[in-house]
């Protein structure tokens, strides 16, 4: 696993990733040159947290390490913070309908093949 740092302030783990990880606390408005374009942060992104390189629609897969790490639950624009408020696991998530009492069935129902 080899990442590629962007302006020494973010790291992209694989070329096909659509999110990158902040390597320092980044302020809103910080601009990054990525894939021949510019991605400008819409909001502050803390060290260790992710932001989108491209816009995502609800249901789109979020990729890090070249793998699917979750699904967008709402529209995400390039430069927006990507975390638990707008992404869910493809393996089920707290607060899924069905509740804990029936977690087996719930887990299966919510699981998606990716």
């Amino acid at each position: 696993m080899k990442g590629e740092t962007i302006d020494d302030a973010a790291i992209r783990m694989a070329p096909e990733d659509n999110v990158v990880t902040a390597l320092e606390d980044l302020p809103a408005g910080r601009a990054f040159d990525v894939d021949g374009g510019t991605v400008t942060l819409a909001e502050p992104v803390e060290f260790g947290h992710k932001f989108a390189l491209a816009s995502l629609d609800p249901g789109d897969t979020v990729r890090k390490y070249g793998e699917v790490v979750g699904t967008a639950t709402e529209p995400i624009a390039a430069g927006e913070w990507v975390h638990t408020h707008n992404v869910v696991s493809t393996r089920g998530q707290p607060g899924d309908e069905g509740g804990e009492a029936d977690s087996d069935e719930n887990g299966d129902a919510e699981r998606r093949d990716t």
Partner: protein, 402 residues
């Protein structure tokens, strides 16, 4: 690359009668149940240098499946290559027989003693007697000398605890590179913490050498998922933990993909049950263990791992009583703030240093530690130990894990 040249092909260790090679030379004082833990600690404390207690919380009468697992671990730590001789301490009413543990360890050619607190005449008398026995064992241990051994004789355990986003970005890939080097040198590298394969098991499955290993792996991951459901925990909800999430990890698959990077890139050769014998010269293998890091480390040490490499983004300080634990952090703030508890700074990867270069630094450190250099956890006397329990209802529903 590194400040000094370390021959990656060899180290200097203590060759035991069973052929395995230790990197430390301890007398292990092992309580058979929680009721003997205080005596074991007192014995090790009074006997001093080279005598290590492994106190734990297991009851006098574990349920049957748990008992097997506890016996496996108690026997395994006594026979770990870092242990020259062992003393088993019991109250005397345990379901697990000290003599059986002692016989199994004696079969590896080590001197072993047993002590029953009831027969000794109570706590004080047992501690006195235990100190005498530990000193006798230490005298035998003191005859051992380091000799040249091959890197292929190392069994190195990879662990993570207190993960944040830097664990998957830097520390775990660096450990994975070191794991590859151990395996390429003919040794064994082992990862565990099965719950942290969830969401990344397809990648490990692709690395399995054959269908049998693949089926074992996937069955183990599924079992851990069902175990969580049974205990009323939804892993997919409980993971990543709130601490992980604060550190930037969003989903369990993101955490797992980062976690399995510790296992490097070589083929996955076998899946070992908790606490059982790890192969020497076995390549990359997996041990099925819980996600709790102290129990997971204890299982691998019981399996015969001589060295543990432990990544932590948020700053875990834990060690082990009989195995050196090398702490690696990928978080520059943690390295700065907790420098005295860290051995290797993997955050250099985030500054553009290659994983291969920092992996080389870690690999050199592993060899130094094998040769006798103390780790941060050893210098600070960190010696955590815990055995994984199996509640009876899990066993009834899911069947015996062995």
């Amino acid at each position: 690359m590194s400040e000094r040249a370390v021959d990656p092909r060899e180290f200097r260790g203590y060759r035991r009668a069973d052929g395995r090679v230790g990197v430390r030379n301890y007398v292990a004082v092992v309580p058979v149940s929680v009721t003997a833990s205080a005596v074991a600690k007192a014995v090790a404390s009074r006997a001093g240098t080279g005598v290590r207690a492994l106190p734990h919380q297991m009851p006098l009468s574990p349920n049957e499946a748990a008992r097997t697992q506890v016996e496996t671990v108690l026997e395994g730590v006594g026979a770990n290559p870092n242990v020259a001789g062992a003393l088993y301490v019991a109250l005397g009413t345990e379901d697990i027989a000290s003599e059986e543990l002692a016989d199994a360890v004696a079969a590896t050619g080590r001197p072993v003693e047993t002590l029953a607190i009831r027969e000794a005449g109570g706590t004080e008398a047992a501690v006195d007697r235990g100190v005498d026995l530990a000193e006798d064992l230490r005298e035998v241990a003191s005859e051992a000398r380091r000799e040249t051994a091959d890197t292929s004789e190392l069994v190195v355990a990879m662990e993570c605890g207190g993960s944040d986003a830097t664990s998957g970005l830097a520390a775990n890939p660096v450990v994975g590179d070191a794991c590859d080097r151990i395996v390429e040198a003919g040794g064994t590298g082992v990862i565990s913490e099965t719950p942290e394969f969830i969401g990344a098991e397809h990648i490990l499955a692709e690395r399995c050498v054959d269908d049998e290993v693949r089926e074992k792996l996937l069955a183990r991951v599924e079992r851990r998922e069902r175990m969580a459901d049974l205990m009323g925990v939804d892993f997919r909800g409980a993971q990543p933990s709130p601490g992980n999430q604060a550190g930037g990890l969003t989903t369990i698959e993101e955490k797992s993909l980062g976690a399995i990077a510790k296992g490097g890139t070589t083929p996955l050769r076998d899946v070992i049950t908790y606490g059982n014998h790890l192969p020497v010269g076995g390549g990359f293998v997996v041990m099925d263990s819980p996600g709790y890091d102290v129990e997971s480390v204890s299982g691998k040490v019981a399996g015969g791992a001589q060295i543990v490499v432990f990544t932590t983004g948020r700053g875990s300080t834990t060690g082990n009583p009989i195995a050196p634990v090398v702490k690696v952090t990928g978080n520059p703030k943690t390295y700065e703030r907790m420098h005295e508890n860290m051995d290797v700074d993997a955050s250099r990867v985030l500054e553009g240093e290659s994983v291969r270069t920092v992996g080389g630094t870690l690999s050199d450190r592993i060899h130094d530690v094998a040769d006798g250099t103390l780790t941060a956890a050893e210098r600070h006397g960190m010696a955590e130990f815990a055995i994984n329990d199996l509640p009876a209802n899990e066993v009834a529903t899911l069947g015996d894990p062995t």
